[in-house]
């Protein structure tokens, strides 16, 4: 696939808009279908497209393994950390009301943060899964 000019050019053109679409889905999860999981999968699809066309090593150069592992853990920490922040501010776990003065703004802020965490983790997991399966070398 590396030598086919159509694939190369189209994938390079599409890479950015796919990520933008993924971000659109992420932030419009409150108002329509979307949210963290869907957005994570879409953004990962952009990177997977790049890996499929240019090869796994190029894909690994674009997004190294250590970044993928760190983003996975970071997403979980963001989600859980929001809950811990709620506890430190005096409410129950994952209660968004202490985040802002008006209740609906607080809920909005809380949901956006946790969905961001979900999106980060799902993106990293999907990309990590693709790298693991595609780059699997039997031992011995």
């Amino acid at each position: 696939m590396r030598d086919n000019p159509v694939f190369k050019i189209v994938s390079k053109i599409l890479f950015g808009p796919i990520i933008i679409y993924g971000l659109y889905v992420q932030f419009h999860g409150d108002y329509g279908p979307g949210g963290g999981f869907q957005a994570g999968v879409i953004v990962a699809a952009a990177f997977i497209l790049y890996s499929m066309i240019y090869g796994l090593e190029e894909g690994r150069k674009l997004m190294p393994d250590w970044i993928i592992r760190s983003v996975m853990a970071l997403g979980v920490l963001v989600f859980g950390g929001t809950g811990i922040a709620s506890i430190l501010l005096g409410a129950n776990y994952l209660d968004y009301s202490p985040f802002a003065y008006k209740i609906y703004k607080a809920q909005h802020l809380g949901i956006i943060i946790v969905e961001l965490g979900v999106g980060l983790t799902v993106f990293a997991v999907m990309l990590g899964l693709f790298n693991a399966f595609a780059g699997f070398k039997p031992h011995k």
Partner: protein, 137 residues
């Protein structure tokens, strides 16, 4: 089973057919990957069951429009199914990872060959035979 019942409960009939198809594939198929596909079909039937439960007659999608007095379908089953889909994806991914490791360790992912192995010590290797015997389903 009268035509009336089929027309009234057509969604449940589809759910049951998918469920049974999925279970049958899991039980009868010899290939480990195809069993996972059967598991996916089985889980999808449950998702369809939930979402069809949530439909309100004359209800639109449960997304807030600005118009008053709109009838919305129940959004709770949608949320439950989002969670269940993620769980299904994770199960599928883990199952496929296990299949890759099984293929590497045992050189085969056909159940009948692996069952024959279990009867012996379990530490001998599987003879790699012709692929004609593998399941054609």
């Amino acid at each position: 089973m009268s035509i009336n019942l089929i027309v009234l409960y057509w969604n449940y009939i589809i759910v049951i057919m998918l469920m049974m198809a999925g279970l049958y594939i899991i039980i009868s198929n010899q290939n480990f990957i195809k069993k996972l596909v059967g598991l996916s079909i089985f889980q999808s039937s449950v998702f369809i069951f939930y979402i069809s439960l949530g439909k309100v007659s004359g209800g639109t999608a449960p997304i807030l429009t600005g118009i008053e007095d709109t009838v919305y379908s129940n959004p709770l089953p949608h949320v439950l199914i989002l969670t269940a889909i993620v769980v299904g994806v994770a199960t599928n991914a883990l199952g496929l990872a296990l299949v890759v490791r099984i293929q590497e360790a045992f050189k085969s992912i056909e159940e009948h060959k692996l069952l024959a192995l279990k009867k012996e010590d379990g530490l001998k290797d599987i003879q790699i035979e012709d692929s004609k015997e593998d399941s054609a389903v």
